[in-house]
């Protein structure tokens, strides 16, 4: 009879940690304006924020990247080395297309509401 009890308590622990991870994930998602650069792509590649939100890009690649507006709607970032960040506060509603000015195949957009 001992075995099922252990099994269910292990299962309980697993379910508990999955739930905890789910909560953490949800919290991370709710951080307004966070974009991570990983594997030469923007995550998320499309982000919707309220006007006045500060968007922060953080480079997790081993290669520098740079954020540029596709139509010069906002100032471009300096080159971001590994773990460097760049922030910009979007005050005017609209859709802002951007790209990596070093690797222009990398594109993303910010929708400001």
């Amino acid at each position: 009879m001992l075995r099922p009890i252990i099994a269910s308590s292990v299962l309980g622990a697993v379910v508990g940690s999955v739930l905890a991870a789910g909560v953490l994930l949800a919290q991370a998602d709710e951080t307004p304006g966070a974009i991570t650069i990983d594997n030469f792509s923007f995550g998320p590649d499309s982000l919707t924020v309220k006007a006045g939100t500060t968007v922060t890009w953080t480079n997790r690649d081993d290669i520098p990247h740079g954020i540029g507006s596709a139509n010069n709607a906002f100032k471009k970032s300096p080159a971001l080395d590994t773990d460097d960040s760049f922030s910009f506060t979007f005050t005017t509603p609209g859709t802002y297309q951007y790209f990596c000015y070093l690797h222009p195949k990398m594109v993303g957009s910010i929708v400001v509401q």
Binding site: D61, D62, A79, Y98, F99, L102, P104, V107
Partner: protein
């Protein structure tokens, strides 16, 4: 084979296969558009060459210190030692960009210190990593581009061969590839217009001028237009870097070739989630880095390109 090896082994093995095959120092000569390998490096070097021999190095990324190669300056020095050990001293060297990793003065200083040990004249074109200082390339232009036009393009002649250094890493557009731009294209058209069709042309730039792999941006948007101006020439050789691996293609009178990096390898097209630095086993790294030796022989249409790895 362990499970871990197996999981990423396919990509890596495929890459290594190509690299080992390309990297044994085969001398390529091309006649009638068909490449032939003439022999191994030793034989090739032993053969007496008349004409012009120059060297290409690329993508030294001085300042790079990530796991794919914690000492990019050290491997650059190994590459220059290899140059110095060549039996036949090259006439000069071209560097096809990404001298530095982050366009810092110290990175350029360190690169210059090592490269000058070759005691060769060096003709540079910038990579995108060389133009990311606060003034967007001022450091590069002050050091290497004083006599160049625009963002750093120029041409010169050596032994009857016309060399053209182009810049395709400036003013890149969202979603696009490398770009030469109208000003440079107009300059190129004028630069070659009055030259005899029998003049051998060597065009060099950082990003490949032909599309190697669109998804990773490995190509030049207006590269075809540039090559259009060179149609009348019987011998055109295009030398690039940027992709940190050897690729070769022959199309009509044009031979395209990319050189290895002296810093770190990158994955073969589409074999990894991104083109980021490829971490290989320590004993494999130097087999995937190297230099290229290019020889022009009088009365031969094609230039012979010998790629040799730092090791193996």
């Amino acid at each position: 084979m362990s499970e871990i090896d197996h999981r990423d082994g396919v990509n890596r093995r495929k890459v290594l296969e190509c690299m080992t095959w390309c990297g044994t120092g085969v001398l390529w000569t091309i006649a009638g558009g068909v490449p032939h390998s003439l022999g191994i490096m030793g034989e090739a070097q032993a053969a007496e060459t008349k004409g012009l021999t120059f060297l290409q190095i690329s993508d030294s990324h001085v300042g790079f210190d990530k796991p794919a190669n914690p000492n990019a300056l050290g491997t650059l020095e190994e590459a220059i030692n290899k140059v110095n050990a060549l039996a036949q001293k090259p006439a000069f060297m071209i560097h096809t960009g990404d001298i530095s990793h982050l366009s810092k003065e110290k990175e350029f200083d360190d690169a210059d210190h090592i490269i000058s040990q070759s005691r060769l004249d060096v003709h540079y074109v910038p990579g995108e990593h060389d133009l990311i200082d606060a003034d967007q390339g001022k450091i590069y232009r002050d050091r290497y581009g004083k006599t160049a036009k625009g963002a750093g393009w120029y041409s010169f002649d050596a032994n009857g061969v016309h060399f053209i250094g182009l810049v395709n890493v400036v003013d890149l557009k969202a979603g696009g590839l490398g770009t030469l731009g109208n000003e440079q294209l107009e300059w190129l058209e004028k630069d070659v217009k009055d030259r005899s069709a029998s003049t051998p042309i060597v065009l060099f730039a950082h990003i490949p001028l032909w599309t190697v792999y669109q998804d990773w941006g490995w190509g030049t948007q207006d590269g075809a237009q540039a090559l259009g101006y060179l149609k009348k020439f019987g011998s055109v050789t295009v030398l690039n870097g940027h992709i940190h691996q050897i690729m070769q293609k022959v199309e009509g009178n044009v031979t395209f070739h990319t050189a290895r990096s002296t810093a770190f390898p990158q994955p073969a097209p589409g074999t990894a989630p991104s083109p980021g630095p490829l971490k290989v086993a320590d004993d494999q790294l130097r087999k995937m880095l190297g230099i290229a030796n290019v020889t022009f022989k009088q009365n031969e249409q094609r230039l012979a390109i010998i790629d040799s790895p730092l090791q193996g």
